[in-house]
């Protein structure tokens, strides 16, 4: 039917009586890096656990590499999973942690040794073999957990919030590391994250989820430029979102007439899409902060608050002053709901 390597068809997942994910349909191509993105409770982790086999669907079908694995237990699926907390085995040293799954397969010792060494080298942990996980830094533990999954040569590698426990510098390093490993091994990866910048930076395609359903699915570029709903737009950094009635923007605070004709129901602007210093509307600056390339303003106007990022070259407007601004048609993103 399609070139899907992993496919979830009408998969319903629940915890007891509570349905967490109703009728999920998702197709993942071989070698793809997919991000399941969304706020906590959106069902992204639940969906990942279903692919791993840690959660059996109430109904629906999960197919991996042409095999129906809906009822296959987690230990027979050939899936890798890197846990958010890494879930390393504290009583084993780094080498034995990585070798754990290979030993279960009862492979010859020489092969276990060789594959474990390769695995540890892949993540740059050669020389750490005899360390216990507790004696390693967070970044090293993360890479150890990655190596432990990779040596099993899983069909799909799942990663649960892989970067959330790392500090900013390590996060960037690990991000590059994940991309490199994915490129080198060609492995299909699915990672769960609540951080849209992480998803945008890493993924080939992003699955944006809300309340157990897919809100929008697309490449980072598509999601970034063309969010379809208020939820997606909000997640992608469109901080100014207003309903449209006739030619007027409407918010709970008030109304503001647009300078152009609009048929859409909702319009959204990024802070960078708002023009400050000219235009037909006026607002008062209530907050102003320096952000390197630009200055971020919060303007108080008839609609309530508007966020605007203005190039640093333009003259600064002091807090408390009235300033002209515009919500131009060119930077407006129409939304369905």
């Amino acid at each position: 039917m399609s070139d899907a390597f992993v496919s979830l068809a009408d998969v319903t997942l629940s915890y007891g009586q509570t349905v967490a994910v109703p009728d999920l349909n998702l197709e993942i191509r071989e070698g793809e890096l997919i991000a399941l993105l969304g706020p906590s409770g959106c069902g992204k982790t639940t969906s990942m656990r279903a692919i791993a086999g840690l959660l059996t669907p109430v109904s629906g079908k999960i197919v991996i590499d042409g095999v129906d694995v809906t009822r296959t237990p987690a230990n027979k699926r050939g899936i890798g999973l890197v846990f958010q907390s890494y879930a390393l085995f504290p009583h084993l040293n780094a080498f034995e942690n990585v070798a754990f799954g290979l030993r279960l397969k009862k492979l010859p010792n020489a092969e276990i040794r060789q594959r474990t060494e390769v695995g540890m080298a892949t993540v740059g942990l050669t020389g750490f073999e005899t360390r216990k996980p507790a004696e390693m830094s967070g970044g090293q533990q993360q890479r150890l957990a990655l190596a432990r999954s990779l040596v099993m040569e899983p069909k799909v590698l799942l990663l649960d919030e892989p970067l959330s426990n790392l500090d900013a510098r390590l996060r960037l390093e690990m991000r590059n590391e994940l991309q490199r490993v994915q490129k080198d091994t060609g492995i299909t990866m699915v990672f769960v994250t609540h951080d849209q910048s992480e998803a945008l930076a890493l993924a080939d395609r992003i699955v944006l989820m809300k309340d157990g359903k897919i809100e929008q699915l697309g490449t980072p570029a598509e999601l970034y430029a063309e969010p379809r709903t208020t939820f997606a737009a909000d997640f992608m950094g469109f901080e100014n979102i207003f309903r449209v009635e006739g030619g007027t923007l409407v918010s709970e605070q008030g109304r503001l007439s647009l300078g152009f004709d609009a048929q859409e129901r909702v319009l959204a602007w990024r802070p960078g899409g708002v023009v400050v210093g000219q235009g037909s509307h006026t607002g008062r600056v209530i907050a102003s902060s320096f952000a390197g390339q630009y200055r971020s303003y919060v303007l108080d106007c008839a609609l309530g608050q508007i966020k605007a990022d203005v190039p640093i070259e333009t003259p600064e407007v002091p807090i408390g002053e009235e300033v002209a601004f515009d919500l131009p048609k060119a930077t407006a993103r129409p939304l369905a709901t």
Partner: protein
């Protein structure tokens, strides 16, 4: 608080904690014929005599048997119980916890009497069997509590990680859970061993001709013979307990678990 008061409190506390122990050691090292303090001269003859008393040897063997196998049985039941209480959202888990802890809350004398009246007599159970069952039950709370607390330190996703890597649920338990609660199990064993070995009230009711645990045997020995050998034996037992705890502390940082 003035320095004087602090030292007084410390001194009194130590006196009451260690004093009786020192008295017992010295009373046992008496050269005289009756149990007295201060001792009438010093000698080790009563320490030597302890080993020649036939009934002490038999009751020591029984107590040792109960302490080792009663505790092992309690662990065999207690580890799965602790695991189940920890891992599954059981109906009435709190009730189960309370029931499991009951043997340390209910006075031993009541436990002993009840067992004698409603277990040993009507069912015609041998005294040794009854003692074994009793000691197992009395040690259970330690097994469940101590193992539970070390399970709490274990992250749940570790077992899932093991399963993802190919383990069955049972393998995940034996290869990942057990090795990581080993310290807690050993701690529970030592606590249980000492609790069982020193148990008096319940065992008091469960003794018959030739079948007595060591503490009970010492009591009845004292009723007939009032010589310093009981003090000597007490001192030896105290040294044994101290040695066990000391070794355990050295090997696995016992105090973390208690």
């Amino acid at each position: 608080m003035p320095r004087f008061a602090i030292w007084t409190i410390l001194g009194l506390t130590l006196t009451f904690l260690i004093g009786p122990f020192l008295i017992v050691i010295l009373a046992g090292a008496s050269a005289g014929e009756s149990l007295a303090f201060p001792p009438q001269g010093l000698s080790l003859k009563w320490y030597a005599k302890v080993f020649t008393v036939e009934s002490f040897r038999a009751s020591f063997a029984l107590s040792l048997f109960l302490a080792v196998f009663g505790t092992l049985a309690a662990l065999a039941l207690g580890i799965p119980a602790a695991y189940a209480l920890h891992r599954y959202d059981l109906l009435g888990a709190e009730t189960i916890r309370t029931i499991v802890a009951a043997p340390i809350i209910v006075p031993g004398i009541i436990v002993g009497l009840a067992l004698l009246r409603y277990f040993v007599v009507p069912l015609d159970v041998t005294i040794t069997m009854a003692l074994f069952v009793t000691h197992t039950a009395l040690v259970m709370p330690y097994a469940v509590r101590v193992v539970s607390s070390s399970l709490n330190n274990l992250r749940a996703d570790m077992e899932e990680a093991a399963v993802i890597l190919g383990c069955t649920r049972l393998q995940a338990f034996t290869k990942v859970v057990l090795p990581n609660i080993r310290g807690g199990i050993l701690a529970a064993f030592i606590l249980g061993f000492i609790a069982s070995f020193n148990e008096v009230p319940a065992s008091l009711f469960l003794s018959g001709p030739g079948v007595r645990t060591l503490p009970i045997d010492m009591l009845s020995y004292m009723e007939i013979t009032f010589d310093p050998s009981v003090a000597a034996l007490s001192a030896l037992l105290a040294f044994m307990s101290i040695a066990i705890v000391f070794i355990a502390e050295r090997l696995l940082g016992f105090s973390r678990y208690v």
